[in-house]
């Protein structure tokens, strides 16, 4: 089991390094085309990366808390197949109140999926990350209250469609369904 985990984490690290290498090659090409613009882009990226650090630390802490304190069965009852309407509401609220870039949350969601979270809920959580409470005043300033409130409500109401579609599409995937089969084991035990 430990060997499989190590293999998976090495695979993830390798894929990340390949991706980074591709991006570096792209950056070198961009440097050759327009060095001034590329340096500007890299400076922007560095600032973005520095801003990411506190959020990454927070997510590490979240993952540790969930893995250490939260009981798999309990998590499954809140966010698993049997959670019902409660699960939908929790996921939507969690998506709205959390902050930071969407990709920082992928690792945490992967862990939660292993612990029995529904695939559809992961999609709903990510979709509702689009509703950013601190940015609502900015949106109201640009587009008005009626437009902003309507857009937010429409997005919240339509978000379960994403969850249902994703579950429908991923059910046939053996890789994606592996963690879900884990949920079935928990449920049956």
């Amino acid at each position: 089991m430990k060997k499989i985990k190590n293999k998976q984490s090495r695979k993830q690290l390798n894929s990340g390094l390949y991706f980074l290498a591709t991006v570096i090659i792209l950056t070198i090409v961009a440097l050759l085309i327009d060095s001034e613009k590329t340096v500007k882009a890299l400076y922007y990226s560095l600032k973005l990366l520095i801003n990411l650090i506190p959020i990454i630390v927070m997510v590490i802490l979240f993952i540790a808390i969930i893995n250490f304190f939260v009981d798999q069965k309990k998590l499954s009852s809140y966010l698993g197949k049997e959670s019902g309407i409660k699960g939908w509401i929790i996921t939507i609220i969690a998506g709205i109140i959390t902050h930071g870039p969407i990709y920082v949350w992928f690792n945490l969601l992967k862990e939660m999926k292993k612990n029995g979270m529904r695939t559809g809920f992961i999609a709903i959580f990510l979709y509702n990350r689009a509703i950013k409470i601190p940015l609502i005043p900015v949106m109201i300033y640009y587009f008005g209250t009626l437009y902003t409130v309507t857009l937010m409500i429409v997005m919240i109401i339509t978000s379960p469609i994403i969850g249902l579609f994703v579950e429908l599409f991923t059910e046939k995937d053996s890789l994606d369904s592996k963690p879900m089969s884990g949920v079935k084991n928990i449920e049956s035990s």
């Binding site: 984490s9 993830q12 690290l13 894929s15 990340g16 390094l17 991706f19 980074l20 792209l26 950056t27 961009a30 327009d34 613009k37 590329t38 500007k40 882009a41 890299l42 922007y44 990226s45 973005l48 990366l49 990411l52 990454i56 997510v59 590490i60 802490l61 993952i63 540790a64 893995n67 250490f68 969407i102 990709y103 920082v104 690792n107 969601l109 992967k110 862990e111 999926k113 695939t119 992961i122 999609a123 979709y127 689009a130 900015v138 949106m139 640009y142 587009f143 309507t150 857009l151 429409v154 339509t158 994403i162 579609f165 994703v166 599409f169 991923t170 046939k172 995937d173 890789l175 994606d176």
Partner: protein, 150 residues
């Protein structure tokens, strides 16, 4: 004394779990750096002025174009509001502007490789594809309601 030992054991266990979580996030760090560099390149090499010229004036076609460009571009949502505000002032339809704003925050082309790696290929395709399509429907519903109410 026994209670003290239990607390120490729990603390040790939590620190170990924390270290494991940190290790799993560190494995993702090359992805984070790559995504952030890509975002910087997109921001600088695709200036707002390019986006303004892409829209055609046809509301339906512009809605699809809005979703497409919202999906490709990434970064702080405030940037999408600023661009969208300029687009509106330029006479681009509210349908197109809304689909642009929604796709900007719900579809992520730059982070696709990392999403595939962590959450699976089928999940990533399904989530991004459905979010892309839904951005146009959300735009349609929102604009119809806003026009009816205002």
């Amino acid at each position: 004394m026994q209670k003290d030992q239990i607390i120490r054991k729990d603390l040790k266990g939590f620190i170990l779990t924390l270290a494991k979580s940190a290790k799993s996030m560190l494995n993702s760090f090359p992805f984070f750096v790559g995504i952030v560099i890509l975002m910087g390149l997109f921001k600088v090499f695709i200036p707002n002025s390019v986006i303004y010229h892409i829209f055609t004036g046809n509301a339906w076609l512009d809605t699809a174009i809005g979703s497409l460009f919202g999906s490709i571009l990434a970064g702080n949502p405030i940037n999408s509001y600023i661009i969208a505000n300029f687009l509106l002032k330029d006479g681009i339809s509210l349908f197109a502007v809304t689909s642009f704003i929604v796709a900007w925050v719900t579809v992520g082309i730059t982070q696709l490789p990392y999403e595939i790696q962590t959450l699976g290929k089928r999940f990533t395709i399904a989530r991004n594809l459905s979010s892309f399509i839904l951005s146009m429907f959300v735009s349609l519903i929102t604009v119809v309601i806003v026009r009816a109410l205002s």
